[in-house]
């Protein structure tokens, strides 16, 4: 899924670690780590929660790019 994100930068701006951000959005540290690595695309609910905590719009944090390889 061609979803890219800037979560790491936003988290750095907040000055919190992965576990603290996880607690802020009621999710695990592992999930935050997976999102940052691009290994997991969050649900709409989680993406909205993250955006709210980061005081940003969802599309500022998550970027969708059309998959060109898809025939």
């Amino acid at each position: 899924m061609p979803l890219y994100n800037h979560l790491k930068e936003y988290r750095a701006r907040l000055g919190v670690n992965q576990q603290q951000l996880g607690a802020m959005v009621q999710t695990s540290r592992q999930t935050i780590s997976q999102i940052e690595r691009g290994d997991y695309s969050p649900s709409v609910t989680l993406a909205l929660k993250i955006a709210k905590v980061c005081d940003a719009r969802v599309e500022d944090i998550f970027e969708y790019e059309e998959d060109t390889d898809n025939e």
Binding site: T31, Q34, S41
Partner: protein, 263 residues
């Protein structure tokens, strides 16, 4: 999440693969049958099978003890390694890279402990079977049988203790996680405390396990059938594999249908 998409294969390609598989299996079956028929006539085959069976049964105590001892040592080493990493992390809680490495390393003792537990039960039952039917205790002595029993008890206890300790570290790393390994409802409680990403991981792994089990069942049916014909192992093993395949597929389809109805 993987970016790879599985492409649909054309009917023509599937048909060609299927015909090729049938031809290859037919040729292998023909040669196998020919060799068996020739060797059965000379009686050397039946004697060889008997000798092989005897060697396998007599080697169970040694094999069981080696695996049982390894099942104690390997997961324990893995746990000690993880515990060291955990202590290191306590001093540097912001080290995300170390945290990820520890989470990954925790899989080691958990996987080895679980796999060894299964191997232990299997080999212990073979050991007991050998002791009863082939009088292993007469060859190795009663002391060896008692030592084997003691090792089995120790390895079984370790098979519970190591996962318990790993889960304890996991729960300390992720306080939202719930569940006690000793509880029969551990999986349900643990799953309930997992968030969406972890639940997705479990679903994907379960689907992969389901697919792999189906493939393995097909191979095992072929193998058990060949063994029944060649080594006279009876058809019970083949029926049991078919039963496992049936239950695996049926429970998957039943739950999928239930979920579909729920919408």
């Amino acid at each position: 999440m993987s970016n790879k998409r599985v492409k649909e294969r054309s009917n023509k390609r599937i048909l060609i693969t299927f015909i090729l598989m049938i031809v290859v299996c037919g040729v292998i079956g023909y040669f196998f049958g020919m060799i068996t028929a020739k060797s059965e006539k000379t009686q050397t085959f039946a004697q060889t099978v008997d000798v092989m069976k005897n060697v396998v049964i007599q080697s169970f105590p040694v094999l069981f003890m080696i695996v049982a001892v390894l099942s104690i040592i390997i997961p324990t080493i893995g746990y000690i390694h993880c515990n060291k990493m955990y202590q290191k992390l306590q001093a540097d809680r912001d080290n995300d890279e170390l945290w990820d490495r520890l989470e990954n390393a925790l899989n080691g003792p958990m996987i080895t402990s679980t796999l060894f537990s299964i191997a232990n039960v299997c080999l212990f039952l073979c050991f007991v079977y050998g002791a009863v039917t082939a009088k292993i205790d007469e060859r190795y002595g009663k002391t060896v049988v008692l030592i084997g029993l003691a090792i089995f008890v120790i390895s079984t206890v370790m098979g519970i203790v190591i996962p318990h300790l790993v889960v304890k570290i996991e729960k300390e790393l992720n306080p939202e996680k719930k569940g006690n390994v000793l509880d029969s409802k551990f999986r349900e409680v643990w799953m309930d405390s997992c968030d969406e990403a972890q639940q997705m991981m479990v679903y994907k792994s379960a689907y992969k396990a389901f697919s792999n089990t189906n493939v393995v069942c097909i191979w095992l049916i072929a193998i058990t059938f060949v063994c029944a014909m060649l080594f006279k192992t009876d058809i019970l093993s083949m029926i049991i594999v078919c039963l496992i395949w049936f239950i695996n597929t049926f429970s998957y389809m039943l739950h999928a249908a239930k979920l579909e109805r729920r919408g």
